[in-house]
Symmetry: C2
Subunit: 310 residues, 2 copies
Amino acid sequence: MNETEQTPKIAILGAGLIGVAWAALFQHHGADVCVWDPEPDALAATAGRMNAPMAQLFEVAPDAGPRGTLTLCETLAEAVTGADLIQENAPEAIALKHALYADVEPLMAPDAVLASSTSALTWSDLRPGLKDPARLITAHPFNPPHLVPLVEIYGTDPDRIARAEAIYRAADRVPVRLKKDATGHIANRLASALWREAVFMVQDGIADVEAIDAALVNGPGLRWSVLGAHMAYHLGGGTGGMAGYLAHLGPSQERRWAALGAPSLTQDVQDALVAGVMREAAGREVAELETVRDKALIAALRARKDAPQV
Amino acid sequence: MNETEQTPKIAILGAGLIGVAWAALFQHHGADVCVWDPEPDALAATAGRMNAPMAQLFEVAPDAGPRGTLTLCETLAEAVTGADLIQENAPEAIALKHALYADVEPLMAPDAVLASSTSALTWSDLRPGLKDPARLITAHPFNPPHLVPLVEIYGTDPDRIARAEAIYRAADRVPVRLKKDATGHIANRLASALWREAVFMVQDGIADVEAIDAALVNGPGLRWSVLGAHMAYHLGGGTGGMAGYLAHLGPSQERRWAALGAPSLTQDVQDALVAGVMREAAGREVAELETVRDKALIAALRARKDAPQV
């Protein structure tokens, strides 16, 4: 934490998978963290459930400096009072979040930021929950949040956005700003577009599920971990860059877009997807696959420190 | 080279960017490589242009064993005669490739494989070039071919496909098989689908070019470098896996597909894309960006050795 002048206080609302990951991330990077959950059992389990992400964070960022404090708060007021950033991780139900915001808003410091981790909802969906919507931003992490650096941000108050971004950056995140409220933010729109074609290729018989995944991981996925899609076409244009690419291959790209598929998740397609991932999993349970994923993510993150992305 | 019983002989036809990368890859991994190009200047420049990829390959795979030989062949016959695999990297023009194949076919060993690196064309486009199309496979690498492991394969002769795959695997590649001939193979279909939405977000004003690239590289791109898109939804379904995901979130995914954009590369959009990548490049020339990309790819590939992908 070296971008803010004093130790920030972060309130984590909701101690599910995402909330616990945020709590570990912020504490590891020196912030003082207060976790609140309406379920006493979830709250009591928080410290234990933070052990695994804390250990992973030590592998990714062993030099993060002294940890912050962790406080498990039995009341919302205790968590929110004095917090610089309130990261909300409630279930994805509009009415529930509106009700929570009605309780949070009177407790917030005047210039504090209420940041929703929402994936499925938008800022516009959530803003009716506040008297002063400028206090609200959406700040969507990508799973698992303590490992994948992206935080996608939308809000209307530039000062609050800038202060939230500084807090996320100090916790080794990469905040990315939307100019306009959009369902799926940026990353899930990209993921959804890619998966549509991946499902189409299964439906159309072009390739098996596991072949498509292997192609992605050993081809464009690897490349997109080091440079973006726009930048890839800039490099694909040679010395002419993006302008050269568009002049020579823009029309063929538009024809390719027109030829992309529009699959339906029929029962047959669903069966093929399930059978495919089961072949790919090769007997490994979801928890084991997550462990492999996390180890690979940690290794990839460590590699970035010596050789940064484009 | 430990999957084949004796040192394979590889003919590389065309000493452009892709051909040179293939030559370096195969030689580094112990194969005997013969390079032919119809342009004497290109042929003469080959050994010098292989220096950079050879040095990179030594960083990625320092333990690959003794290098194979490199022969610069002034005639097609010298390169093709006795070759196990003939990797064709001619310009993407059907008539030109057909004419080349007519010259190659009589020189090939009976069970040799003619593998086209074609990106834009399909096996069906190329097959009329041969009397015996079973000799032909498409074997599309992903740029840069000596670093990105993917090779996408389509053909009709299972024996030849299996022999080609063994040669690619021995050169540390990951061959992936298509079940059906398809424009864009697998990876460029995925890349095209993703870029369509990336361009739409620029056109629609949702986010800037550089924000979209940063979101991809620090979010889904990083994750797709360790697990595939199908597998990601399997893990997103929790203990229910892909079946659970589809049951609970399949309908919302179909709604999201319906809401994805269909952009056009109008002059305004082209201008925004060019301006965006120029901001992102921040004064760095394409060659410098490629150097950064390659260093990051090498670091990512080294990280995979200790922590393999899902």
